[in-house]
């Protein structure tokens, strides 16, 4: 079976890419997508751990359960995020983060 380490590397890579995306995308949607990536990476990490490490039998499904809930929550968060993006679009006709700086200093 594939050992644990590669999975950790993949999820770490995905997190890094996700953070990079969040920092550099100019469109709010781009940032949303990057954040989805991060959450997926975390879920992957959880599942990888739940399969590979010894846990007490009461918590054997803890990892997968957490991943499942994380997905549900991510979906809800995405919905909320997108509705906010739509609001912003309606008000200031752009989703470009550079231009949304009505409030500063």
């Amino acid at each position: 079976m594939i050992p644990l380490a590669p999975f950790l590397v993949v999820s770490a890579a995905l997190v890094a890419i996700g953070v990079f995306g969040a920092l550099t995308r100019r469109s709010a949607l781009g940032i949303l997508m990057s954040i989805e990536l991060i959450i997926n990476a975390a879920a992957l990490n959880l599942v990888a751990f739940s399969q590979h490490i010894r846990t007490s039998d009461a918590e054997s499904t803890a990892g997968q359960m957490f991943a499942l809930f994380a997905m549900a929550i991510a979906a809800a968060a995405a919905a909320v995020g997108l509705s906010i993006v739509i609001c912003i679009y309606r008000n200031s006709k752009t989703v470009n983060v550079d231009k949304i700086d009505l409030m500063r200093w």
């Binding site: 995308r25 100019r26 940032i31 983060v97 550079d98 949304i100 700086d101 500063r104």
Partner: protein, 650 residues
């Protein structure tokens, strides 16, 4: 009944309170209250000093003034021989001058205020005389200083009078502060300020031979002498007395001739036990006295204002008294003080009468030939001039002779200086007399008139006093005055009589009068103007008082004012930085130099406020309003935290 002496100073104090509170209602009758009070205290004093002088006992009464823990400060009165004599002089002269002032001050609208302050002054002087400890003496000393400030500045609408008042108070204050420190030093070394306890404590301490204690006591003595220099206008703190002539003449007579200026000498006499134990202190006193006497006489030669001449002559005579005390001739010094009070008061009042009659003109060059118009004043003035010049059998001769005798035995240099000063005294006094009373009246249109009776009476009484008062102190009555001073054992031995000294002093006096006659008589043989040209530099130096005032202005007054302005700017600039304002912020951030100016000019306090504003502006900028900047900064922050903690933990 022994608290009777305590009443003597209290009566004038009550008079002062009465006059000052209902000045308006009293109006003219204020002078009655004042004179009444001083008369009653004179009578009381008479009772007291007659008992003390005749039966050689000392009256003392004291109460506990302040207590902390176990130690307590007792205050009270103590009349001994010295006190008795001073009481006699102060009350007699004081009352006479008050009577004279009624005439002189008549018509002045602030009449009541004048008598209020005169009464307060009398209270201060009497308090000084009867005090049994240095603290009460210091209290009355300062009250007199305040009265002299008010009385000098009495015509307060005249700026010069106000300035003279301040000059007097500040200069004497410098002296008082020296006295204050001296008292405190004395308290810490001798443990007491009461004169009777000092009589025992000081010899005991001196006997120990402990160098430190001796040093402390000598320092205390010298500091107390600083007080005398201030109050009795000895060099270098003499500058205020000539300017004090701005005050009305009775004030000059009472305060700046007879009583207050003598207080300094009285102080040295009172604490003579301290000086006697340490010859170093005595020599300082002697030399300061001697120098002042000579120095003042030199200046008096060329003065043209009648009151200024008398002022410098007072300076000179005070120098004599201080020199006498410095030479250990304790009794001679005090006897001269008594006699000087009488004839100097008379001289001032005479001058006052002249000025009063001459419509407030004080310049001698415009006077002359007043003998005919003011016969009484002239006669009394002549008696006093003779007395001060030291012509026997008047009082001045006896007292001055005693001093010169003492000087002759102790320090020949001072004796020569003293004798020469005696010559100068005789010269300038008769220069004044001849310029004023003999010859023609140089300024034609002022028609002088004789003073009213109320002014003449005191003149006559004092003239009698000036004439006869020498006798009790002369060998004819066996130096009764000196012995009644119950000269303390510690005072130096009395010197035997010497004909040489007496003869020489008479000769010198006559020579002075002759020279004055030659120069200033109705038909002068020696033209004063030519002599002045001949003396050249010396004459001009003496005329403008050796530029002492200018030196002081340059050395002390202006630097103090500059220091004051500097401190205020320092306070405003460096510490407070009241000059703040946000405008500074933008410019300051621009240049490093700006920051330095900011620190120096803006002051530490406001610099802190400005730094906070600057930081606030800088950190405020990180809030760019753009989300991705936030995200970048946040993740950067997280990374930094992780690394730091790991490095810290690792």
């Amino acid at each position: 009944m022994d608290f009777l002496p305590a009443l003597i100073p209290v009566l004038p104090l009550l008079a002062f309170a009465v006059i000052i509170t209902n000045g308006r209602r009293l109006g003219w009758s204020a002078c009655l209250v004042a004179v009444g009070a001083s008369l009653t205290s004179a009578v009381l004093a008479a009772l007291v000093y007659s008992r003390v002088l005749l039966s050689h006992e000392t009256l003392a009464w004291s109460f506990e003034w302040v207590r902390w823990g176990e130690t307590a400060l007792r205050m009270g009165v103590r009349i001994d021989g010295l006190g008795a004599l001073m009481l006699f002089m102060v009350t007699v002269v004081g009352t006479l001058i008050e009577i004279y002032a009624i005439g002189y001050m008549a018509g002045d609208k602030t009449f009541s205020r004048f008598f209020a302050f005169v009464s307060l002054f009398m209270a201060g002087m009497l308090g000084l005389v009867v005090a049994d400890n240095l603290l009460l003496l210091f209290v009355s000393w300062e009250i007199m200083g305040l009265c002299s400030y008010f009385l000098i500045g009495f015509y307060f609408h005249r700026p010069s009078a106000a300035a003279a008042g301040i000059k007097a108070f500040i200069t004497t204050r410098i002296g008082d502060v020296g006295l204050l420190i001296g008292m405190i030093l004395l308290w810490w070394t001798a443990g007491t300020l009461r004169f009777d306890e000092l009589l025992l404590a000081v010899p005991a301490l001196a006997g120990l031979g402990d160098a430190h204690v001796d040093l402390m006591l000598t320092a205390a003595a010298l500091l107390i002498f600083v007080g005398t220099i201030g109050k009795s206008a000895q060099f270098p703190l003499h500058v205020w007395l000539p300017d004090a002539m701005e005050g009305p003449t009775p004030v000059s007579a009472l305060i700046h001739a007879a009583t207050m200026v003598a207080a300094g000498v009285f102080l040295v006499a009172r604490s003579f036990i301290l000086f006697a134990q340490f010859p170093a202190a005595l020599t300082v006193v002697a030399w300061v006295g001697g120098f002042t006497a000579l120095f003042a006489a030199l200046i008096a030669l060329t003065q043209n204002d009648i009151k200024r001449v008398l002022a410098y002559s007072t300076l000179s005579q005070l120098g004599y008294m201080v020199m006498a005390l410095g030479l250990g001739a304790y009794a001679a010094g005090m006897f001269h003080l008594i006699t000087h009070a009488f004839f100097k008061a008379l001289l001032f009042m005479g001058a006052g009468a002249v000025i009063h009659g001459f419509h407030h003109v004080q310049d001698m060059r415009r006077m002359g030939g007043l003998w005919g118009k003011m016969p009484w004043t002239a006669w009394t003035f002549l008696v006093a001039t003779l007395a001060i010049s030291g012509i026997p059998p008047l009082s001045g001769f006896w007292s001055k002779d005693e001093i010169l005798l003492g000087a002759f035995h102790e320090s020949p240099v001072l004796w020569v200086a003293g004798t020469f000063t005696a010559f100068l005294t005789a010269f300038y006094m008769f220069r004044l007399f001849f310029m004023t009373f003999t010859g023609r009246q140089r300024d034609g249109e002022i028609h002088a008139h004789e003073s009213p009776a109320v002014m003449i009476l005191p003149l006559v009484v004092l003239a009698v006093g000036a004439a006869l008062l020498g006798i009790p102190g002369s060998p004819w009555m066996g130096l009764w005055v000196q012995h009644s001073l119950d000269v303390p054992a510690y005072a130096l031995a009395h010197h035997h009589h010497s004909n040489l000294v007496m003869g020489l002093s008479i000769a010198v006096a006559v020579a002075g009068i002759a020279l004055a006659w030659l120069m200033y008589a109705p038909r002068p043989t020696i033209q004063p103007a030519r002599v002045a040209r001949a003396m050249g530099r010396l004459y001009t130096l003496s005329l403008n008082k050796f530029h002492i005032d200018e030196i002081y202005a340059a050395l002390i007054i202006n630097p103090t004012r500059a220091l004051a302005r500097g401190s205020f700017r320092f306070d405003l600039g460096l510490i407070d930085g009241a000059v703040n304002g946000m405008g500074w912020l933008q410019r300051a951030l621009a240049s490093l130099k700006g920051l330095f100016d900011k620190w120096v000019v803006d002051g530490i306090v406001n610099l802190l406020a400005t730094i906070v504003q600057a930081l606030s502006a800088v950190f405020g900028l990180i809030q760019t309003g753009r989300v991705h900047n936030y995200l970048l900064l946040a993740s950067l922050g997280a990374l930094v935290i992780a690394c730091l903690t790991w490095w810290n933990m690792g």
